[in-house]
Symmetry: D3
Subunit: 144 residues, 6 copies
């Protein structure tokens, strides 16, 4: 188990990767009800500056949380997902792109005896090394 005390500024974490398929985009449109033509209308999407359907921004962030989760988060004394800062969608994610997350610990906020907030700079990267989304993730982590 990794505690608040065990995180150091500058620590880096690289997650495994996952391909965002057409099925994932359909399933996310389904789950949320966000059937914007940019995501689910192949004809319309051809006419946009992207030239094809792209994944929902929130799907990209959601896939990212799934990539942290099992091997990393479950090994940490995780208490709560506190929030995010400066979320930016910096490049389109096309159907078939493969994403992973690069994390860096950039700040630690001590919140007293029991816990603190670890701030991780998250970069969601595609298979061409492009950053598709960035944000600061704030996780409440227990102390020893």
């Amino acid at each position: 188990m990794k505690y608040f005390d065990d995180f150091a500024i500058g620590d880096k974490i690289v997650t495994r990767a996952r391909t965002v398929t057409e099925a994932d985009v359909v399933n996310f449109a389904s789950l949320t009800g966000d059937f914007h033509p940019l995501h689910v209308d192949a004809e319309y999407a051809k006419s946009t500056r992207f030239g094809e359907r792209i994944a929902h921004g929130m799907l990209v962030l959601s896939v990212a949380t799934g990539l942290w989760s099992p091997e990393h988060l479950l090994q940490w004394a995780f208490i709560a997902f506190y929030g995010m800062e400066r979320v930016r969608f910096t490049a389109p994610v096309k159907l078939g792109d493969t994403l992973h997350v690069d994390f860096e610990v950039v700040e630690k906020q001590d919140k007293g005896n029991a816990a603190g907030v670890v701030n991780l700079r998250q970069s969601v990267m595609n298979q061409r090394g492009e950053t598709v989304a960035t944000c600061l993730v704030k996780l409440m982590i227990g102390k020893k």
Copy 2:
């Protein structure tokens, strides 16, 4: 069609609502691979300070985007989801809670001839009038 020019500071929008069911939480765990016991292990969840399983924070934000989407976003000259600021998860969402979104236009950033960024303060509310998540949503909207 509603353009950047048509948004005014102080405009308010209330979306329809949707119940976050056990099936939604299972489907979101599935989509993302985030099977944290807090969301999918009923026995473990009893032992936490929540006393029962709760929805993923990112599911709450994702459901929110689905509530904006069809009746609102599709009527706007929407170009891109630019980003979010100060995302905070302020209260747990329990299985069976019913959520809607309260929006208020709080800032407009002119980006030149073609478009601007409309900043909306988003409050995701449950059926008891509690705010479960807040953030600033930044949408790139076309000009007339």
Copy 3:
């Protein structure tokens, strides 16, 4: 294999049954994008004449086709789903209701050498013996 020639007016077929769960209603809202509050907003649904969420009419018809399919349709020289007549939704389907289909062959339309249209009166029934949907199903079936 059962051919057009083998169907007789008055033949009756009873399918197996299936419970329409909350998960099915959520999954159908998802698949179609039809998140009408009557189906997915538990608070709103309390205020309607139904007093609770009900299944989508089209989900009821879709579940019905799934009940015909494997043990019946796959044994027939099925060519195409030709159409339906007089579709009526006659009673609400609540989450947890268990449905089956009663079929009766009511007309045969010979379409020449290769095939004909078998007309089946479909009654979708719940566990209390109430008819929740009725229609005439027209199936193109091959001849021997």
Copy 4:
């Protein structure tokens, strides 16, 4: 809110569009249990007159209801989905086809003080301008 009184014979409505993907066909087979080889067996489908897998007829109708739903139905004083007449599947829908709905108000049936039935001729169209399904949709709509 649009009431029974506000609909006029001849009114036309065009919905947004949506691509019916392989994932949608798999998800619909799943939801209903209708795994007919015409929809889910690529080898078998090659041997049919269609030459490839096609979407379920009921999936086409279900997708259509999802296209009416958020931007149209939710703005109407909708009470109930009354029924359908003369449902016909007029052309196959292939995986990857993009569908939208053309509606025309063709009849209004006054049902007394509170509501009436609006009859809409529905044509489900693909991206090549072909009609893939037609029917008369009967919606119970409230009066002012």
Copy 5:
């Protein structure tokens, strides 16, 4: 209804077939949380001896049970799925492969008055006639 007494050593059963699509693999990863890169990371999969993503072994077995189920199992006096012996995954299943099951009754174990266990040798076959998985399936079947 087919009873224990009605099965004879050497009886053969061939099921219908089904294509295992990318959507099925995504949906199975989702259901189970098994997002191993071999199944969901197209870039990684290129580097393996398979050269592309392959279906989960347990998905192959699960699809197989769905192929027995409606037309076969539902016609039998099925009591319980007793177990399996010697499960082997003998060839990779690629996305788009079409599978069916060949069954042969190889042993019957009488369990007294009410029921017996029928042992079926299951071969899951792809569209090129290759065996992708084998096992002995043990089903408890009622007597007349």
Copy 6:
């Protein structure tokens, strides 16, 4: 990374747990097409010796593989899922039961220079400490 060499007879592994919900059973029936009434017909299930719907045996095994996967399998030099022996379903899994896996290394089969097969006795356990399924899992694991 844990290699074939690193496993010792008698090693024990306990996975995290997961609740098998109604949504999971519906989703598994959907994925496979196995809509046996024992799993999806609440009325029928009341009349069986179980008294209520139970999870599919293969869902139990599939959920189990998902529980091994991220924190365990991904840390191992996993090459292939070789097979299973003596799969037995020893107690029914009811909707809402919470399952985890107890593993014990019981045999190692050296297969030469590159890899070996690790045999793990798998016990799938519910929240009452009952064993619901057992089998021997055979995993091909790389050597250092």
